[in-house]
Assembly symmetry: C2
């Protein structure tokens, strides 16, 4: 089997397009589940262009081939696209910078666009359709040129599905199914189709390992009042699992059978989440059926963790905290001893320490270890060909997380290497103030999460400073580290599902980045809990409980910039970290913990 070069792939694609009379071909960074992490099989954009970033959109015509990527990847894409025939298209917040704008501008009326209907969500397809109507373009969703072109394409993963241990979930499969059925009934909706893998894993109290970092398995699911059908490759299930599913009334059909099943439905109304279902699946639903668009009920239910689940997460945080103490103690010692440490060794070491902990199943995302200027790139990742040694003075930003059977973690700490500058210390303290402001705030139950962002950013805004990423994202329970619907970011749209509810887990990760110099981010996970208040006439209030257990490095704190309440929060946090972690540590590492959690006065 000979492997094609990128220009050859492009040439062959254009030949296919010509034959099929297609004027423009679009490739989205997506699979039929609209997942964040794709199986190798669906990494079409990477195969076709060589660009390995997490997101990008391709448009190919006979005389143009472009890849649209956002600001974090411009440098990388520029390098990787060299001599491929693909041109970097810089995506910004400006609507005119999108591939849709390009199509509207460059295609002639009646031109035909092809996009694989499996890899575009209903929502994104509707945007494309609006464009097509405006410019009198046609769209074809049924062609799959890549299937013909990609000879050595990896098969879909067949990793086993596992049941979560008894006691880890507050609700059984049957209970969850019954709740969703009741929600549908309340809304007079007959059936519901789900493609989002974390929603399916949550509903079935099961996990998988088909993709990187997210413990999910490839499947679709349909349920109505009588039936619940899981579309999944049977090879992923052992007999015990099959039997459990059967006992709960879950019928298994082949993974590929979902579209045909949808075409033969006898339900009158079907609910789908337009952001989480492919247009191919919606198009498969028989025409006489009324399709209702809304968020998956499972997404809302799974975002609020039950008290028993939060108790498990607190345990996972102890495991993670113990690993982190070992890691940071190692790092400090190694730096002191002048060992050769690179950004890559950080990644290896932190994962190795986590792997020694109970229930660790893998990192929850690719570790970010960025020294000085690399730390100023919020989505930086060191690679085998491109990394920095940790030497000289500066700040080392480490953002990492673990998947445990009883919880998902995500933490960022910044370590001073050598002698940090006065500016670095001041900036570190400003970011810490932002972190504490959010950690200690109280807010009305149901407040849209973006409305809290000004609390977090206030200290930086007062100085004319800001950071260009969200302050917080939802986090799953032994599931995806990025989980909706809540997003704590002032530029996130506010929807009916933006409200903060009891039991939601959210990250608290303000930062500050000086391009070419250094970056700072301090991140803990927190859970929303009810605040007992004296007054009863003003509704319910929530507050945050910080869950992450790891000292916040104090070398860079300028204590004069902290007010007494901030110092009190920091000391109380460190006392909790010490109390929960010290029983699990000994010797030098215990000593390191005691030093790191000493009260600041």
């Amino acid at each position: 089997m000979n492997t094609l070069t990128i220009p050859e792939k492009l040439q062959q694609l254009r030949r296919h397009m010509q034959t099929a009379r297609i004027d423009a071909f679009i490739v989205m960074s997506a699979d039929p589940h609209m997942s964040e992490y794709l199986p190798e099989h669906w990494k079409i954009r990477q195969w076709l262009t060589g660009f390995s970033g997490s997101v990008g959109t391709i448009v190919v015509t006979q005389d143009f081939a472009g890849l649209w990527v956002d600001g974090r990847y411009w440098v990388q894409a520029e390098q990787q696209l060299r001599n491929t025939g693909f041109k970097l298209q810089k995506l910004s917040s400006d609507a005119s910078s999108t591939h849709l704008a390009w199509l509207g501008h460059h295609l002639n009326p009646h031109a035909v666009i092809a996009v694989n209907g499996q890899t575009i969500s209903v929502q994104q397809f509707e945007l494309l359709q609006q464009l097509a109507e405006k410019h009198q373009l046609q769209i074809q969703t049924g062609l799959d040129f890549i299937a013909d072109l990609w000879q050595d394409r990896p098969a879909l993963p067949l990793q086993p599905i596992t049941l979560m241990a008894e006691g880890l979930n507050a609700f059984s499969r049957r209970q969850k199914i019954a709740i969703i059925r009741q929600r549908l009934k309340d809304r007079q909706i007959d059936g519901h189709f789900i493609s989002s893998l974390d929603d399916i894993a949550w509903l079935l109290n099961s996990r998988g390992s088909d993709v990187d970092y997210n413990p999910v398995f490839l499947a679709h699911l349909y349920l109505n009042a009588r039936q619940i059908v899981l579309f999944v490759d049977a090879a992923k299930m052992n007999t015990a699992l099959r039997q459990k599913f059967r006992q709960d009334g879950i019928e298994i059909q082949p993974y590929e059978a979902s579209t045909q099943f949808l075409s033969q439905l006898s339900d009158r109304t079907v609910l789908i989440d337009p952001a989480k279902v492919s247009i191919l699946h919606q198009q498969s639903i028989a025409a006489q059926i009324s399709v209702q668009h809304d968020i998956n009920p499972a997404t809302l239910l799974k975002s609020c963790k039950a008290p028993a689940e939060i108790a498990h997460i607190r345990n996972a945080m102890i495991s993670d905290g113990v690993a982190l103490c070992h890691f940071f103690h190692w790092l400090e010692t190694a730096l002191k001893n002048g060992e050769n440490i690179s950004e890559l060794s950080i990644d290896e070491k932190i994962t190795a320490f986590r792997a020694q902990q109970y229930g660790f199943t893998g990192p929850s995302f690719a570790t970010i270890a960025g020294f000085n200027a690399n730390g100023a790139l919020p989505h930086y990742r060191a690679t085998r060909t491109h990394y920095q040694m940790i030497q000289g003075d500066g700040l080392l930003l480490i953002d990492s997380g673990g998947q445990y059977v009883d919880g998902t973690t995500d933490i960022t700490r910044v370590v001073a290497v050598g002698i940090p500058s006065a500016e670095q210390k001041r900036d570190y303290t400003l970011v810490l103030k932002c972190h504490i402001a959010l950690a200690t705030t109280v807010y009305p139950e149901g407040l849209a999460a973006p409305l809290l962002d000004a609390i977090a950013r206030h200290t930086l805004w007062q100085q004319g400073l800001d950071y260009r990423h969200g302050t917080g994202h939802g986090v799953g329970y032994a599931l995806n580290v990025h989980e909706g619907p809540q997003v704590l970011s002032y530029y996130a749209p506010i929807t009916p599902y933006s409200g903060l509810r009891e039991g939601m887990i959210i990250s608290n990760e303000p930062g500050l980045y000086h391009e070419g110099q250094y970056g700072i981010r301090i991140e803990n996970l927190m859970v929303n809990r009810l605040k007992q208040t004296e007054h009863k006439n003003y509704g319910d209030f929530l507050e945050f409980e910080t869950l992450t257990l790891c000292p916040i490095h104090q070398e860079c704190i300028v204590s004069d910039l902290l007010n007494p309440a901030e110092i009190q929060w920091l000391n109380a946090y460190h006392q909790m970290v010490r109390e929960r972690l010290s029983p699990h540590l000994q010797g030098e590492v215990l000593q390191w913990l005691m030093t790191q959690t000493r009260p600041l006065s």
Copy 2:
């Protein structure tokens, strides 16, 4: 002429409905301009039910008559509707509490609803239409039973239109018209129809007095690249004004001619603001014309005041501040002397002191003077039959404002009467902290105003306290005291037009209300201005400049609850008030100002 009782009006209305085969008749609190204040002619709801609150919706069928009002008016409506045949319908935030929900629930399929198309906006009509489609109802907009029933109905007002003095506006009529034309051209829209009275007054640099409090005149306006037509009663204009308008290319047509004009348009696309134009006007537009819905460009332009206009507003604030010093000095003296003062005398006195100032044309809204429990009703208004004497101990809340030729004011202060309690002092200080937090905040240019509300409420939320009204509203320039598009309230929807821009004026009015006991609100007006920052990589930032000039009463401040930065703000504010007002005051009033603006330490 004999005047009908309310039951008689209802009986006659039902007879008309029966003849016309109408099953349900709706009356909205609106006129053809969707104004906040209606001319007497359009106070149909008040005429038909006797309910005198500012807002309410009527539904009448053959066996039901209901008035939907929100929580502030439940007590008043209960009293005023007694023995009228109308039932109070309590409107809450719950969608099932609306008149639309009632109609959906009670009308049979194919029932016919009548609503006067002149008094319902396109936006509200669309909601009604959605309901009608869902429940197979019909809507008629062309019937006007009230015109037949209301024998002694007041005519439309004919107050004169006046031109604003030269120099008060930063842009001439011609310039404003040219800017709007350019905006239409940029969007490839031919024509634009405006019904909102403040937008018309702003565009024409003219003012009127057709309704209470808002210095506007009844008119509609149409403009395209060639024509600008003002639909207005010619009796409102003197020869000089007509000539000025003619010079600027403004054509005058009768007020009633707007719908016929729209039916004969030759433009292909017309822009209207669906929240600010009646469905009757939209329906008048010829069918082949494409109607585009969006906010009026004038609304966006007028919200950002030019530096020269802000300079005039600062002058108006001096006039208002001088009047307020006289008023508060009088109040303090009168209370000290044991004079008989009622909530009503407050209203009379404050207006009398303002009337002595240059350029005062009237109050900018109905004065709210509420003592103790009355202060806890955010929209309380004392009436001749229902008011409280100011005696004993407690808090007196006074919210008032003035219209001046060079600015519009709106201010709330709380005065301690007798000896305030420790709780009252603590609450007053908490509200002051909220006020200062918002006054001193810095935020990215264009930030949606609701995203700042957490900054303002933070102190109260930490205590489990809140207030059920917005923190800030836009304010016009010698125009409406409530002006869009900006609203600073965490429960306001965020739209593409929610962003804070340089030159916008907004109120800062946090509060706290203990039902049955007392209410606190501290309100100043502020203008958004550019903040000079050291850093250039993080975009532009805005900050607020406080415009209102009047001491903030210090009797209730618990200084231990204020931090040094808050005390510094208060002292700096009082120093500014003293510097700007003292040159205009003498004797005892000057002495009062000096005492009131003494630094707090």
